[in-house]
């Protein structure tokens, strides 16, 4: 479980996070949604330690990272897997080398053991057989899957996904969403997904946090979100007139 308490973050004079608190539970897909510029990515980057919050607490299973020194934070990071928006696969390495990198750097496993783990992870994301390919040879959806394989290779306790569906077609997006959901449940990890894709919210959103203008505006489940009838969240869900019309017709 990850808990954030009253996280604030400024960039110069601009207040980006204005005091966000939330609890992200184990074995569930916790979604952070909101418009572009609402503070989703900054929240995520504060949680993983890429940004230092100005104030507040980030607590990983009772361990407050704000009280930790450099070494302790590094240890926590080894329990984290992250899928980046642009996948951030290392261009100079093959698929296999990308996934094996954390094992090479942080474990003393034999090459055979590492190879088995890499193959397991690739199989888990339905990418077996692509070991020798380079990121430049893969499609967007394939890169995301390899990104997930790399994120889970160290058996993380926490999985962070930043816009996992960006740049993907709706069908591939659903595949990636389901993969994230399955992995979360299978390995009982705490998953936090940053998205503005309502399909993801409805498909995998066990717990949904809606950010607006640096504040937590709403929190609930994907069932509850459909009960919203007005306000910023309503505008976010039914962003287009087409969807509003569709909803109106569905009522009658």
């Amino acid at each position: 479980m990850i808990e954030i308490k009253d996280i604030k973050k400024n960039f110069g004079d601009q207040e980006v996070l204005k005091g966000i608190s939330a609890v992200f539970e184990d074995g569930k897909c916790n979604l952070i949604i909101g418009k572009s510029g609402s503070g989703k990515t900054v929240t995520l980057k504060c949680m993983v330690g890429l940004f230092e919050p100005d104030s507040g607490s980030i607590i990983y299973d009772g361990r407050n990272t704000m009280d930790m020194d450099f070494k302790e934070r590094k240890a926590i990071r080894r329990e984290i897997g992250m899928l980046f928006q642009g996948t951030a696969l290392f261009d100079s390495m093959s698929v296999e080398e990308n996934i094996r990198f954390p094992l090479d750097m942080f474990t003393s496993k034999t090459m055979e053991e590492k190879q088995q783990r890499v193959n397991f992870c690739l199989k888990r994301v339905n990418m077996d057989g692509t070991n020798k390919k380079y990121p430049g040879e893969l499609s967007g959806g394939m890169k995301k899957r390899v990104g997930i394989a790399r994120a889970i290779v160290m058996n993380p306790r926490y999985l962070f996904c930043d816009e996992p569906n960006s740049g993907l077609d709706p069908k591939t997006s659903i595949v990636i969403d389901h993969l994230i959901k399955e992995i979360t449940e299978e390995f009982n990890i705490t998953t936090i997904v940053n998205t503005h894709d309502m399909n993801s919210v409805m498909g995998i959103g066990d717990n949904v946090l809606f950010l607006h203008d640096g504040y937590k505006y709403w929190e609930g489940t994907n069932k509850e979100i459909m009960q919203i009838t007005e306000g910023e969240l309503f505008d976010f869900i039914f962003a287009s007139d087409f969807l509003k019309d569709l909803r109106a017709h569905a009522k009658y």
Binding site: L50, R77, F90
Partner: protein
């Protein structure tokens, strides 16, 4: 002025971070070998071509001038080319070339990694990014530049011999008499000191500019240009300081 001191401070902090204890020495050394290969082998051809022709041109120009002063024997040209190549031409021209070729490459590579979140990906894994991405490049710079400069000296001297003999300015015996006459080992030491410093300058400034890029493609291009410009300026200043202090 404050901005300059801030930048120097950030640079020193980053270089200090680069020398933290590695997570796994074998991974760092593997990366250092890769960088040495890219830095050294990748630059060998351009250094060889330029050094050969710089040596040749030096010999021809000195021969042209000495012909008019008949009091100076032509075998001196070998000595002049040797000294010129060792003390000045090989280290400085090689360093300026490498600043352009390797410096811009390092800076744009790290800049692209920064923009495409690859450096963040290393951070999330718990890797000391400054250590893993910068220290192998510093090691490569400090080791490879002296080696390339030594090669440049030999090829420059050979270039001078070829040009002079082809132009009938002197014979092979005359030229190599000059090359071996009054050889001072201290000159080589000065050359090596310069080369090590230049190697560090090229890789550290380029790494700093690339590693700290913010923005997009335009900023990567700017960082790459700045890496070359700042490295070149630092090279000529350090070149003067070493000459001033050691000669």
């Amino acid at each position: 002025m404050i901005k300059l001191f801030e930048t120097i401070g950030e640079f020193l902090i980053l270089i200090r971070r680069a020398f933290r204890k590695p997570e796994k020495f074998s991974m760092y050394s593997k990366e250092a070998f890769r960088q040495c290969h890219d830095f050294g082998i990748g630059s060998l051809a351009i250094i060889a071509i330029v050094a050969t022709f710089v040596g040749a041109v030096s010999a021809v120009q000195f021969a042209y001038q000495l012909r008019t002063i008949s009091l100076v024997p032509m075998w001196w040209i070998g000595s002049i080319v040797r000294k010129g190549m060792i003390l000045e031409l090989a280290p400085t021209i090689s360093a300026l070339l490498l600043a352009g070729k390797v410096g811009s490459n390092i800076s744009s590579e790290l800049g692209t990694m920064r923009i495409s979140e690859q450096i963040d990906a290393y951070e999330i894994m718990g890797v000391n990014t400054a250590g893993y991405l910068i220290s192998p490049k510093l090691v490569a710079g400090v080791l490879m530049v002296p080696m390339l400069v030594v090669i440049a000296v030999f090829l420059g001297i050979l270039g001078g011999w070829g040009a002079g003999v082809m132009g009938n300015y002197y014979t092979t015996t005359e030229y190599f008499r000059g090359v071996t006459d009054n050889f001072i080992v201290r000159d080589v030491n000065i050359m090596l000191v310069k080369s090590v410093l230049f190697g560090f300058i090229i890789s550290s400034i380029s790494c700093f500019k690339g590693f700290t890029v913010e923005g997009g493609a335009i900023e990567i291009g700017q960082a790459s240009t700045q890496a070359v410009v700042y490295s070149s300026i630092a090279i000529v200043i350090v070149n003067f300081l070493v000459a001033f202090l050691m000669l």
